[in-house]
């Protein structure tokens, strides 16, 4: 099968789609996480941190972890070792990203402005 075929038909196998989606979400999350860390630790401008979108961020991180988990589960049936490694790496990294986000939210609890 030609490598161009999935791009021409716009159809990928399920495990590849899920893993790639989780990796894309992970890259966005790590960008936001690095920016948060920078504003928290170095520049100390807490108004620039991602406090207004905490709900969306947590939802999206859980979604990303779930996609990575599904991708890893679907990939266990295949014989493609590269894909398996990729999917498991995505799963572990997503978990690490969620853990880091959780710790950061806990640390910055006193700097949040809550309006009820």
């Amino acid at each position: 099968m030609s490598w161009r075929l999935p791009f021409a038909t716009c159809k990928l196998p399920t495990n590849v789609t899920l893993t790639v989606a989780s990796v894309l979400l992970l890259s966005v999350h790590s960008g936001i996480f690095v920016s948060d860390l920078y504003h928290f630790a170095i520049s100390q401008r807490f108004d620039l941190m991602s406090f207004p979108s905490t709900t969306v961020l947590l939802f999206s991180q859980v979604l990303s972890f779930y996609l990575a988990l599904l991708g890893a589960l679907y990939s266990t049936g295949t014989k493609d070792n590269v894909l398996k490694t990729f999917a498991l790496t995505s799963l572990v990294t997503n978990f690490a990203a969620f853990f880091g986000r959780f710790c950061l939210e806990y640390l910055t609890l006193e700097y949040r402005q809550e309006v009820y």
Partner: protein, 225 residues
Amino acid sequence: MLRGPFILWGFNPFRSEQKLVQCLQDNVHFPFEVQQPKVFVVEYYRDTLWKGALLLLLSAVGCGLYFQTEKGDQDYAGFFAFGILTGLWLVLCSASKRRLVINHRRGFYRLYIRERLWHQGPLHQIYVRLTAQQDAYGKSFYSLVVSGYRLEELVLARLSTDYEQQMQALGRRLAHKLYLNYFDCQEASGRHVVRHWPPPLLHDNKACPQDADQTDRHEAEGLPV
């Protein structure tokens, strides 16, 4: 009543097996058409097309409305971005027409997406299957699907409760008409009908015909098959 490539879009939450019975009365090979004797063809669009389009539309409208209203403490615009991206992906994936050909003369099935060959496989890898799902009270719901290796599921009737009278009989009848393997919802069952067996696993390559590709090539080159 939907026709043509939209024939599988009819969504009937109640008594979907009755609708399948009606369709089978019109066309015994439903949803396939007989192109030549022993060659069955179905052209279809996936039903994620309208679902994705609906999601895209709802997200776009919701996004527009959200930016009109006054914002609170939390910013929820990300949800609409998710909706729009997911809808776009679903529409992009399922916008192209699929064609599934079951060829009993050559002994293979082929799935074309946008007139490009996506997968070709031997007939023991495509099947008619009854799937069971249970709700919280232990009641079973049965769906009838045509599926296979690297194929998309074609759902013919979904979530019906009538197993004994309708579903298994319909499945067996359809599998008989299409001459495909039929699998029941239970793993070990006397109702499985296996018409195509996989080739025996031997180390000898000659005894294990790879797929019809080689046969085709040999035919095209005029070599003995």
